[in-house]
């Protein structure tokens, strides 16, 4: 039986970032005199960061595969423009618009994948080129103007909330029910994993800590849902996020494809000589990134209710920073979905908190840069010690 300290040390990256997120939240909660966790603000915070989280999921896979994608910000702008033109200029139905936009995202991803995976141009250069290309195309498409507003149904993508099936009460009951179901499912999954580990005599968390951990997680989910419920309930986009996070966590940790992406990022040659079709896998990783960027582009456009030529500017930096803060390795093969999501929220909470405090955009940038450096330093330092 290993000591708790040892267990903590082995998982220091995961717990460390979570603790950092909580610490940052407590700090801003106090500094903003309780504004941070007000229902309306927490809802806003999630809406503001949803597109970063969506892209971080794809970026995590790209970075784990040992690559990088600098073009996601431009694709956000481009897809927003495409959707706007389709709906506003051509009066296309919103559902069809979403479908076409996602398809274009996939094509853009395929374009990247072609240059990177087939022609073997370093991803840094190929996506840098795309970043310029799609920013330019966005300007051309919008002719330098803003295009909007969008049909209400499309706006709901970002600004809508799920309906309350339990009638109109002061509190959104459906939200609480969903939160409860989610908590139960998570606890159930964790118990099953623990049993599995015990069967194979691996070290597991001591039971009191295991219980405490699950109580804390369930508590956090219920607390969040309660806050949401006392405002307008769960935003549509948060439901989307939950589903996406669940899918990507599952894919990365439980499936053959996920395992192969990690192996490819860890040692491309060894993976390839073990029968992994690394070329196709890398291509698909970029297609996936393209689709998620397109989705993020629409969520962002829907939120602003207008497509602008500057939409998505420098989003790629926030996304990449989120993934690295979340513990991914720049040389590939290491990183988790949950880490990337936590990373995205660390950035988001800091943005939001500093804005409430009235910190100027200049200092916000500088402080965020410092946090990124600190997080990666923490990684390097741990690795050297271990």
């Amino acid at each position: 039986m290993k000591t708790l300290a040892n267990l903590f040390k082995n998982n220091i990256r995961e717990y460390g970032m979570l603790i950092a997120l909580i610490a940052i939240m407590i700090f801003f909660q106090v500094a903003t005199k309780g504004t941070l966790l007000k229902p309306v603000n927490i809802t806003n915070l999630i809406l503001q960061n949803s597109y970063i989280v969506i892209m971080a999921l794809g970026m995590l896979l790209v970075i784990v595969a040992g690559h990088i994608d600098l073009s996601v910000g431009s694709i956000v702008g481009f897809i927003g423009a495409v959707a706007a033109v389709l709906m506003v200029r051509y009066n296309l139905n919103f559902a069809l618009t979403i479908l076409i936009s996602l398809l274009i995202g996939a094509l853009i991803g395929a374009w990247q994948g072609f240059w990177i995976s087939n022609i073997k141009i370093p991803s840094f250069i190929a996506t840098l080129a795309s970043m310029l290309i799609f920013r330019g195309l966005t300007l051309a498409l919008l002719a330098g103007e803003s295009v909007g507003p969008f049909p209400v149904a499309f706006q709901k993508l970002s600004s809508g909330f799920i309906p309350d099936f339990f009638g109109e009460t002061s509190i959104h009951i459906t939200t609480l029910v969903i939160g409860a179901i989610l908590s139960v499912v998570l606890v159930f999954i964790d118990i099953r994993a623990r049993k599995n580990q015990e069967n194979y005599h691996f070290d597991v968390l001591p039971l009191p800590f295991f219980i405490a951990k699950n109580v804390a997680i369930s508590g956090a989910i219920m607390g969040l849902c309660y806050l949401m419920a006392s405002y307008k309930g769960l935003p549509n986009v948060l439901v989307l996020l939950f589903i996406l996070i669940a899918i990507y966590t599952f894919v990365t940790s439980q499936t053959v494809i996920g395992r192969r992406i990690y192996a490819m990022g860890g040692n491309e040659k060894a993976a390839s000589l073990s029968g992994v079709n690394t070329k196709r896998l890398l291509f698909n990783t970029f297609v996936n990134m393209g689709v998620l960027s397109a989705l993020a582009g629409m969520v962002f456009a829907a939120r602003l209710n207008v497509a602008t030529p500057k939409a998505g500017n420098s989003f790629e930096l926030d996304v990449i920073a989120a993934v690295f803060i979340g513990g991914a390795s720049a040389s590939g093969g290491i990183g988790t979905v949950i880490g990337a999501v936590i990373g995205a929220f660390i950035m988001g909470v800091m943005n939001n908190g500093m804005s409430i405090l009235g910190v100027g955009i200049d200092w916000q940038q500088a402080i965020k840069g410092g946090v990124l450096l600190l997080a990666v330093f923490f990684d390097v330092y741990n690795k050297r010690k271990g």
């Binding site: 599995n196 395992r259 990690y262 192996a263 860890g266 040659k269 000589l273 073990s274 029968g275």
Partner: protein, 512 residues
């Protein structure tokens, strides 16, 4: 001044959880070639790292005396300053710089930061002459073979006015000729008064050049043998290393050879970059069930290229020829197809091509056959754990758990993980490319036992090896390759080291 150039007294070095060195005493006499031997993990490299300052003073206990002076190195530059140079197994040259730039890297011939190219070139020429390398100083290191790169490393050490030269497995990646040349050079340097410490697994080399031998085992000095007074046999050294009598270096095996399982006909492959250069030229080979076939030949003779081109065309271009399995033609145009058709290839360089080092043992073992442990592309974790634990026991992989990262395993255990991976893919034909390179005598024996086991299960094994005793000791039949061609074929019982070398040298077909 004492007669000993180096004395290391009571060196103890502890890593978290492990005592890597335990009161080690190591004394080297001036002007000798002193061999340091021991199994993998015995502490040789750690001892040399303590000596050269990689592990700085204060992180270990004990004293180091160099030329009678007590030394407390904080880093490598301090140890190099007094003439103590270590050449690592993995060469530390910058591939895109020239020979001259590499030799004087960090030690530039300069005046106020401006390099004097005249001095650099002139001195490089002198140094290259000393080590017997006939290349212009402006040649890029990446254009040199491993053997020549090794010479550049030695020239670099000479440029630093080396007094004690430490070579860590210098011949591990060299072919027979280059190894001989390197050993000759060591003897020459000895004449010029340079003392060397030679770490090697190749006992034949040690018997040839060493004046004394220190044996380490489990982090402790076992004994120091003086080769000048007594003739030391290889068996004597092995006994010291493993702590027991290893009566036979190769496990006995009973061959039970069946039908032909794999046949390769008219196999030709071209170099991936240089147009028109054939790396495999009209090759015909076959393997039968339960047979271990050796492919012998110098480095660069096309052995690895042959295996890799058959294994899913993973090397070379414009590949032509046909592969038959059990008499049926099979498609090996991609690695996936080759694996599906029952072919496996365990690579030569396990760290670069064989393992995902940052991943754990479990993930590495199942990588080539994830479908087997998955239901509809979802990994069944309990089944994966069961399977990998089976291999861990079957091949006795020494590890804390199968969740241990492979980067932390010793060479022998890493090789067992690579073998497990391919056994799990359940192939009928296995190509093993230098499976015992850089691993110790005990682990080699275990690998040979696994090979025998596989053959007795009716698999066809193709063993590529540079070590002739290994080829002779393990195989049933031997092909000899040279310059991309098969230049000889013989039954192991009729073959000898001489006959194989003769085959390579004369490039003539030796009649069976």
């Amino acid at each position: 001044m004492s007669d000993n150039i180096l004395e290391m007294r009571n060196i103890t070095k502890t890593f978290p959880g492990v005592k890597a060195l335990d009161n080690v005493n190591f004394t080297v006499k001036r002007g000798e070639i002193h061999a340091l031997v021991g199994e993998n993990g015995a502490g040789k490299s750690t001892l040399m790292k303590v000596l050269s300052g990689v592990h700085p003073h204060g992180t270990y206990e004990g004293d180091i005396f160099f030329n009678g002076q007590k030394c407390q190195f904080k880093d490598i530059s301090q140890s190099e300053k007094i003439g103590l140079v270590i050449i690592h197994q993995e060469l530390a040259l910058v591939p895109f710089l020239s020979i001259a730039e590499n030799i004087f890297l960090g030690n530039e011939r300069q005046k106020m930061g401006i390099i004097s190219w005249f001095d650099t070139t002139e001195q490089t020429n002198a140094l290259l002459k000393k080590v017997g390398l006939h290349e212009p100083p402006s040649t890029k290191v990446s254009d040199l073979g491993v053997g020549k790169q090794q010479l550049v490393e030695i020239a670099k050490a000479l440029a630093k006015e080396v007094k004690l030269l430490i070579l860590d497995e210098p011949t591990a990646s060299l072919n027979e000729n280059d190894s001989q040349a390197l050993l000759e050079l060591l003897l020459q340097l000895k004449q010029q008064g340079i003392t060397s410490i030679l770490i090697s697994h190749k006992l034949s080399e040690i018997s040839r050049v060493a004046d004394s031998i220190t044996i380490l085992r489990d982090g402790a000095t076992i004994e120091t043998l003086d080769c000048l007074e007594d003739q030391i046999s290889e068996d004597r050294i092995i006994r010291g290393m493993v702590g027991r009598e290893l009566t036979n270096r190769f496990p006995p095996r009973v061959s039970n050879i069946g039908e032909t399982i794999l046949e390769v006909k008219d196999w030709t492959a071209y170099h991936p970059i240089y147009d028109g250069r054939k790396v495999c030229d009209q090759i015909n080979i076959s393997v039968r069930k339960g047979e271990v076939v050796g492919i012998s030949g110098l480095m660069g003779s096309g052995r690895t290229e042959l295996a890799m081109s058959i294994f899913g065309h993973s090397y070379g271009r414009h590949i032509t020829g046909t592969v038959y399995k059990d008499g049926q033609e099979i498609d090996v145009s991609t690695i996936d197809k080759a694996i599906t058709n029952g072919i496996a290839y365990a690579t030569e360089d396990r760290k670069t091509y064989g393992l995902v080092l940052i991943d754990n043992i479990k993930d590495n073992i199942t990588l080539s056959n994830l479908e087997e442990i998955s239901d509809k592309m979802v990994i069944n974790e309990p089944r994966e754990l069961t399977v990998t634990n089976e291999y861990r026991e079957k091949l006795s992989i020494k590890c804390s758990s199968i969740l241990q990262k492979t980067v932390n395993l010793s060479g022998g255990n890493q090789q067992k993980v690579v073998l497990s991976k391919w056994l799990f893919a359940n192939p009928d034909i296995l190509f093993l490319d230098e499976p015992t390179r850089g691993i110790d005598v005990g682990a080699k024996y275990e690998i040979y036992t696994i090979i025998n086991q596989l053959a007795s299960e009716g698999k066809g094994i193709i063993l590529i090896s540079s070590e002739l005793p290994e080829i002779l000791g393990v195989c049933d039949r031997i092909y000899v390759m040279s310059e991309g061609k098969i230049v000889g074929e013989m039954l192991a019982k009729d073959a000898s080291q001489e006959s194989i070398m003769k085959c390579i040298m004369t490039q003539q077909e030796v009649i069976k």
